[in-house]
């Protein structure tokens, strides 16, 4: 296999498909962080979302119900995070760690408890009556790619152009100011967390139903954290977030493509392992180049207590 225009097309389609989960999660997190709540449990929500999507799709035989299951999972765990970090004024980071730890354990635990198999279900990748796809000369492109673009534009519009967007941003920048003019800070934050988590749950469902066709205990593979990095890289702008997700999508797409080049295995055995590390290295490099936390909401990560 040599590198030519066809390969580039193939890499691009793979990359665009890989962009989706990071884009959805990052855009949702941008929204939540704009309201002042950080959620490092996105990785866990994605993972559990992927699991419940399979559970629902498997039992209903309907992939769209599976996607809804993912969204509902996101809402559920988002509610937990919101209760702890907004209502109980707990530590947002620790709560997120709890989400991740729980997810790491829950998915294999529940997979075993429900289907009596360890780590992977269904054991062989299953086609859930695939979600509609756009055909291209190289590989099918998921409808989720244009959906992600739409979501990014929608959230940009919501944040920058609507009255509610102003309220969300005020809540994350200066909750005292928002409170003083009658904006319900807690309610705004809870809704923002729910929206962000729902998108992460959807991203997980997309992975398990549309991409892999099964749920594995490491299906999220750090994408939740890459999405967090994307948020910083994007300077909290949903449109730039899409671009950031594309960069990471390409790093993964390229890694996947190169792993399929047989010549490489002859030079370095097990090189595919090293290639798998590329998206994470790319994340570090990109975040390091992006300038600091320039646009971070000023009240990010701080619970609001009216004295």
């Amino acid at each position: 296999m040599s590198f030519d225009f066809g390969s580039l097309g193939a890499i691009s389609v793979i990359s665009l498909n890989f962009m989706v989960p990071i884009a959805l999660t990052a855009i949702g997190e941008i929204f939540a962080e704009k309201a002042g709540v950080v959620n490092i449990g996105l990785e866990g929500i994605m993972l559990v979302g992927a699991f419940f999507a399979i559970l629902v799709a498997w039992n209903t035989g309907n992939p769209y119900m599976g996607l809804l299951g993912g969204v509902a999972t996101g809402l559920g765990f988002g509610a937990l995070h919101a209760v702890i970090s907004v209502w109980l004024k707990g530590d947002q980071i620790i709560s997120g760690v709890g989400l991740n730890l729980f997810a790491i354990g829950f998915v294999p635990f529940a997979t075993f408890a429900i289907w009596n198999v360890s780590g992977v279900f269904p054991p062989v990748s299953f086609s859930f009556g695939r979600i509609a796809e756009i055909s291209t000369p190289w590989a099918p492109l998921s409808y989720f790619v244009p959906i992600s673009v739409g979501v990014s534009i929608l959230f940009w519009y919501l944040l920058k152009r609507t009255r509610w967007g102003y309220q969300v941003r005020a809540t994350g920048e200066n909750p005292e100011a928002a409170d003083a003019v009658g904006i319900d800070v807690e309610k705004t934050r809870i809704i923002a967390v729910l929206i962000g988590s729902a998108l992460a749950g959807l991203a997980g469902a997309y992975l398990s139903i549309d991409v892999v066709g099964q749920v594995t205990k490491d299906i999220s593979a750090g994408r939740g954290f890459i999405a967090l990095a994307t948020v910083v890289f994007a300077g909290w702008n949903p449109l730039v977030g899409l671009v950031g997700a594309l960069v990471f999508g390409y790093s993964q797409g390229a890694a996947t493509w190169f792993a399929g080049v047989p010549a490489l295995r002859d030079v370095i055995p097990h090189a595919d392992y090293l290639l798998s590390a590329i998206p994470y290295i790319a994340t570090l490099v990109v975040v390091a180049i992006a300038i600091g936390r320039r646009n971070a909401p000023k009240a990010l990560g701080v619970a609001y207590k009216r004295e």
């Binding site: 009596n116 392992y273 090293l274 570090l284 975040v287």
Partner: protein, 348 residues
């Protein structure tokens, strides 16, 4: 000893109560989850504790699991003391274990082999922590992002290293084993080695550094208020570097303890399956141990017991990962101390 702990002495009891409460919430929530999935929670928890404390052998298994956990807990605890959220113990643990196996290829007499293993693992762990420090200090990259990325990189890089450099010539599923004379000497049964004492010793050392030396004082001061520390003349980068390095060393040593001081085959399985989650579990240990190096010993034994007992629970059709489920629930409760205060004031 009272003079040695100027701060927080009065808060110890309430911290203890909060930790116990959090553990209770964790078990309660997991019990409900088990019941929902059709498992008997009472039976499950009975098997869990029977498997961890039921007899001497089980206790030795508990303590063996605790040894590396205590060390990975220190990574997070030291970080928090310096105001950092260092969750890089997971990847650093892999790196330390790989370094330990690699160092065991050099054969040295009189237990010097073990010394070399520990030095190699500590040094490798420290080195693996440097990128996160540099990114934080010079580029403002939050350590949660950088350390998690380093974890994922370590996951793949160390699998590669095991497969290509450390593989057991006679088997394809694990690295070479560390020779007997380079392991921690056995203490009681074959399960428990002197590694547990080593882990406790490291905790004491970290405690001494944090509370009894000027450097440790600066580290804590920067963690509590970087602005005041800066105004007092401390360059915050120095304590930050030390916190990352120390955290790397302890996680690296944790990896060495896992492969040279716990169970057969004293090697690394190719999928790192005997290494995964020790770093993340250490995080839960530190949180329950309130990021105090000495309390981490107690919390480490508690989580070691969970891990030891988890194998017994498997008879009930419950997988090993119930440990992380319980841990996750406990961490939720730790995240919201107000929950404890609310429940307490209701009960009054």
């Amino acid at each position: 000893m009272k003079a040695a702990i100027p701060s927080g002495a009065s808060g110890i009891l309430s911290s203890l109560a909060e930790s116990v409460f959090a553990a209770g919430v964790g078990f309660l929530a997991s019990g409900i989850l088990l019941a929902v999935l059709g498992k008997d929670p009472i039976k499950a928890f009975y098997y869990l504790f029977e498997g961890s404390f039921g007899n001497v052998t089980n206790i030795t298994i508990t303590l063996a699991y605790a040894s590396p956990l205590i060390l990975t807990a220190l990574t997070f605890a030291i970080g928090v003391r310096a105001g950092l959220f260092n969750i890089g113990a997971e990847g650093t643990f892999y790196v330390g274990a790989a370094a330990a196996v690699a160092a065991s290829f050099v054969h040295l007499p009189f237990g010097l082999g073990l010394l070399l293993i520990l030095i190699a693992a500590g040094a490798a762990g420290a080195a693996w922590s440097v990128p996160a420090y540099l990114l934080k200090s010079y580029r403002g990259v939050h350590e949660v992002i950088s350390t998690i990325m380093m974890n994922n990189i370590a996951l793949f890089a160390m699998q590669f290293v095991v497969l290509d450099y450390l593989l057991d010539p006679t088997r394809s599923d694990k690295s070479s084993s560390i020779p007997i004379d380079a392991r921690f000497p056995v203490l009681i049964s074959p399960n428990l080695s002197y590694a547990i004492f080593f882990a406790i010793l490291v905790c004491l050392g970290v405690y001494y550094y944090l509370w009894q030396t000027p450097g440790g004082y600066e580290l804590r001061a920067v963690g509590l208020n970087p602005d005041a520390s800066k105004f007092s003349g401390v360059n915050p980068r120095k304590p930050m570097l030390y916190a990352f390095l120390l955290g790397g060393i302890t996680a690296g040593l944790g990896g060495a303890v896992e492969v040279a001081g716990t169970f057969t085959p004293f090697a690394i399985y190719t999928g790192l399956s005997n290494l995964v989650n020790f770093g993340f579990n250490g995080l839960a240990v530190a949180l329950i141990g309130r990021n105090h190096p000495l309390a981490c010993v107690v919390a480490g034994v508690f989580f070691g017991a969970l891990q030891a007992g988890a194998s017994s629970v498997q008879i009930l059709g419950i997988s090993f990962e119930i440990v992380e489920v319980v841990e996750g629930m406990i961490v939720f409760a730790v995240a919201a101390p107000q929950l404890y205060h609310m429940v307490r004031s209701r009960m009054k």
